[in-house]
């Protein structure tokens, strides 16, 4: 049950992070398969069933642009950030860092106190 809870919470936590990671990786042009490899190489596993619908959604929001081009004798769809996408990414990164800093600050103030209390009670 706790493992299931963790999986669900992890999924929720990752959802927003994935968008930031995908946008960050698309500063340079990539097609879907290489994008997945890049993400995996950096420790973020994302399955194709999540990645491609996400790319389409971001494209429909004007944050990505795509074009079909032949490479290695096969047509591939390449994605890249638009100007609007770059702006949004910067805003999201600011938000991300602010959130990270806030959580660290909370942990520093209360997390330590909690662990001290637990240790003392033992």
């Amino acid at each position: 049950m706790s493992s299931e809870n963790f999986d669900n919470l992890r999924l929720e936590l990752r959802r927003g992070g994935l968008v930031v990671a995908v946008l960050a990786a698309l500063y340079s042009e990539q097609y879907g398969y290489t994008l997945r490899k890049i993400m995996a190489d950096h420790g973020i596993e994302i399955d194709e069933g999540t990645l491609y619908p996400l790319l389409r959604r971001l494209e429909s929001q004007g944050l990505l642009k795509s074009k079909w081009r032949e490479e290695q004798k096969r047509n591939k769809r390449f994605y890249q950030l638009t100007v609007a996408g770059k702006q949004i990414l910067e805003q999201l990164l600011t938000e991300w860092r602010s959130m990270d800093s806030s959580i660290n600050s909370i942990l520093k103030e209360y997390g330590h106190a909690t662990s001290r209390t637990v240790s003392a009670s033992r």
Partner: protein
């Protein structure tokens, strides 16, 4: 590669029409890239089993296609709790009376019961079950349809977002007794006592307009019994007005008085109290027949009265259990009871 073509065809079937080709082209390219990589790693072409493993890992076609579809809900999370509540209320207020009516018709209506003549109890219950399911589906379907329409209206107009905190219902305290109810109970019992003592104290309960209705001598027990219960109820209403919340002793006394009232009423139905109806416009034979019919139908109502009495007792027992159960402290509740 025929397996891959079949897979793509199956995914394509579920995709939105305007995006079918585009999505399939990209998905096909992605799978081909994965196959190429695997073949480069193995140094040979993939066999059917290996290709099957790749497709299996990708997922069932309908699930793969579903991720490209817009997320649609018949009833969204905003309306769903209300939908569930309404569905429960409809099921309770529609199906339960429907079942009770059906059973009552079967027992009391000889014409309706004749339809099932010669059928076993299992067949009769099967018939009830079949009709009940039909009714339940119709009721649930109607509620679902109404909420599906509401969901669409809500999505466009956002009418649920407009609200006023001042219109929230007051804190619900099931142990609180409404003063209005106590006043109604007090007034009703006082009126009853006046009417009862003025008109029902004698065995001849009606002697006007050339019509005379007489009851058996046992009537005096019922007269005093119901009068005593009315006095108890008056006392109760007065106490409830002064201290409007249930306590364990008061809930227990209410249970005893309700059981006494139910027993008295059930006994009344079975007692064949009506002994004479006489009037200028009624022939003696007709009067005897009418007396017999009224006594007969009062006796027939006995089972229903017993059921009603049991229901009242159960409600009272639940009240006692609620009052005696330990409750979590809710701020403001103590103040409301004081």
């Amino acid at each position: 590669m025929q397996l891959l073509e079949r897979y793509l065809q199956a995914v394509k079937f579920w995709l939105p029409k305007e995006q079918k080709e585009d999505i399939i082209a990209e998905l096909s390219e992605d799978i081909h890239s994965q196959i190429d990589e695997k073949e480069a790693e193995l140094g040979r072409k993939l066999n059917e089993v290996e290709l099957e493993a790749i497709l299996k890992q990708r997922g069932r076609p309908i699930l793969v296609a579903n991720r490209y579809l817009p997320q649609e809900q018949l009833i969204g999370p905003v309306l769903f709790p209300i939908y569930r509540l309404v569905l429960k209320i409809v099921m309770l207020c529609y199906l339960v009376p429907w079942t009770v009516t059906w059973i009552a018709l079967l027992i009391f209506n000889s014409g309706y019961a004749a339809k099932f003549a010669g059928h076993s109890w299992i067949e009769i219950l099967g018939s009830l079950w079949a009709q009940l399911w039909g009714t339940a589906f119709l009721a649930a379907g109607t509620v679902t349809l109404v909420f599906a329409i509401l969901e669409r209206v809500q999505r466009k107009s956002h009418f649920l977002e407009e609200w006023n905190p001042r219109k929230l219902p007051p804190i619900n305290n099931p142990n609180l007794i409404s003063r209005f109810n106590s006043i109604v109970e007090l007034a009703a019992n006082l009126i009853f006592c006046v009417w009862w003592t003025a008109h029902m104290s004698s065995n001849v309960v009606w002697n006007q307009l050339n019509l005379r209705i007489s009851l058996a001598p046992a009537w005096r027990y019922f007269f005093w019994g119901f009068l005593l219960l009315a006095f108890v109820n008056i006392g109760f209403a007065v106490v409830n007005l002064a201290r409007p919340y249930w306590t364990a002793p008061r809930a227990s006394i209410r249970l005893v008085s309700d059981i006494a009232g139910s027993v008295l009423f059930c006994w009344l139905l079975k007692a064949h109290l009506l002994v004479e109806i006489a009037g200028a416009s009624i022939s003696p034979m007709k009067a005897v027949q009418l007396t017999g019919t009224i006594n007969f139908w009062m006796a027939r109502m006995f089972s229903a009265a017993v059921i009603l009495g049991v229901v009242i007792a159960i409600v009272n027992i639940f009240r006692i259990a609620r009052v005696t159960a330990p409750r979590a402290h809710i701020p403001g509740k103590t103040a409301a009871m004081a």
